[in-house]
Chain length 266, copies 2
């Protein structure tokens, strides 16, 4: 978790105990060809988790309008929020605004505030038709600003349209999160088991997991200096239950031959 | 591109000029919570690209059976191949085999070869019921071996079920690629423009792109020592057209004030 997330003030909306869901739609041929390693999904996932929004699904689609629209429609009708990344620059392959407008059945307009920001930066002649493309927003959309550089993204309905360049996207997320209805944050506690693999710990682990259906308990194996081990991550919204279950896990795993079993809370 | 990919012998199947498509289904709460930064998608994307298979879509779903099945069914009916990662370990949250079997309407059986591999490694008493879970394969499935460690994955129909741990997944991909019908490999040529941003180059770029509808031409902007710049990547299956278009781009971008325009072929 980058420190800048933890230091930010909380969102202005009230936390609720309902589950709030989001999906991410990553738009870009460069991710699917392998040219670019995506890091935006992980940043958004951690940011949303901090604020109690469950990232429920993610999709990566190419720079093809029909694919963008199909992905967007599947996600925006199912989850509370959709965050898209990529395809909002000035070039011919930047078709996210067009696709989002078409999905919502709205015309694209040149947003006066974006034109003003661009005019301040580029003056008259430098405001090329290509750059003006970046001022286009579906009618009724609001701007998603960023303090980093370049024109804003936008919000229309429950969809937030962000840049693909990671530094710009991160700046924009700071303007997205205060607009989200946020859920009770999910807490996690980690128990690290050294010297006993998943094949050995799976049964007591499953017993504990079945006794706590409201929690998510994951096992993330590794190979370390003591041989096989695993980080067992207990996640849930009730502090007392999460804490007690981490202790219950430690008790349940004793006597299986592990070299050590210890809390390594994040 | 890791060197091990380039050094491997080509797939045994004949290359065809048809488009061959694949999708990746990443299974795991840890990706959606942000706990883990996925790198498997990028590895698979580059591997498939090398062999002329187009990665057309990717999805990330949680460790929830209904979600895994829904994602799998959407992808396996639409693309030539689906590669899944994650959820094949011995713990209670490893439900990929169960989900794939249910999607195909097949019973899960204990595969005798996997049991044999596990017995060789773990002997009698150490072959716990949890470890035996890893021997389960939908009836009729074939094994996807890996030279790294641990039990194999499996193939059933057009779906390949691989581990989530990157080193193991990479080993398994070596056993997947020879089974794929592969297309004509996609070549790419890159033209690097320094000192001129996308807003300046977008119009000539679009003209060139429109003149070559069979090619994909992407623009990937950066900020470097000479200010704004962009890598323009021309991708296609016909060497002559890709080469000629890269040169055409260089000619079209002259006179726009860029500090340099140069081929930087991968």
């Amino acid at each position: 978790m980058p420190s800048n997330i933890l230091l930010r003030p909380g969102p202005e909306t009230m936390a609720s105990t309902d589950r709030v869901t989001a999906a991410v739609l990553i738009i870009g041929d460069e991710i699917l060809s392998g040219r670019t390693q995506d890091t935006n999904l992980n940043f958004i996932a951690r940011y949303l988790t901090t604020y109690g929004v469950d990232l429920a699904e993610a999709r990566v689609v190419p720079d093809v309008k029909a694919e963008i629209i199909a992905g967007l429609d599947a996600l925006r009708t199912r989850y509370d929020y959709v965050i898209t990344t990529g395809g909002i620059g000035p070039t011919h392959d930047d078709i996210t605004a067009d696709s989002v407008a078409e999905a919502f059945g709205l015309p694209l307009i040149e947003h006066p505030e974006i034109l003003e920001i661009m005019t301040r930066r580029w003056g008259g002649a430098e405001l090329t038709p290509a750059r003006r493309r970046m001022a286009r927003v579906p009618e009724g959309g609001t701007l998603v600003r960023n303090q980093v550089q370049g024109p804003p993204g936008f919000q229309i309905g429950n969809v937030f349209v962000l840049a693909g360049v990671p530094t710009v996207m991160r700046g924009m997320m700071d303007d997205v999160v205060p607009r989200l209805r946020t859920g009770a944050p999910v807490l996690s506690r980690t128990v690290r088991v050294d010297g006993a693999g998943e094949g050995v710990i799976a049964e007591p682990l499953e017993r504990v997991a079945k006794a706590h259906p409201a929690l998510s308990i994951g096992s993330y194996p590794f190979f370390g200096p003591e041989g096989y081990g695993s980080n067992l991550v207990v996640r849930g919204r009730e502090t007392a239950e999460v804490e007690a279950t981490a202790e219950e896990l430690i008790a349940a795993l004793k006597g299986l031959g592990a070299k050590s079993i210890a809390r390594v809370d994040d």
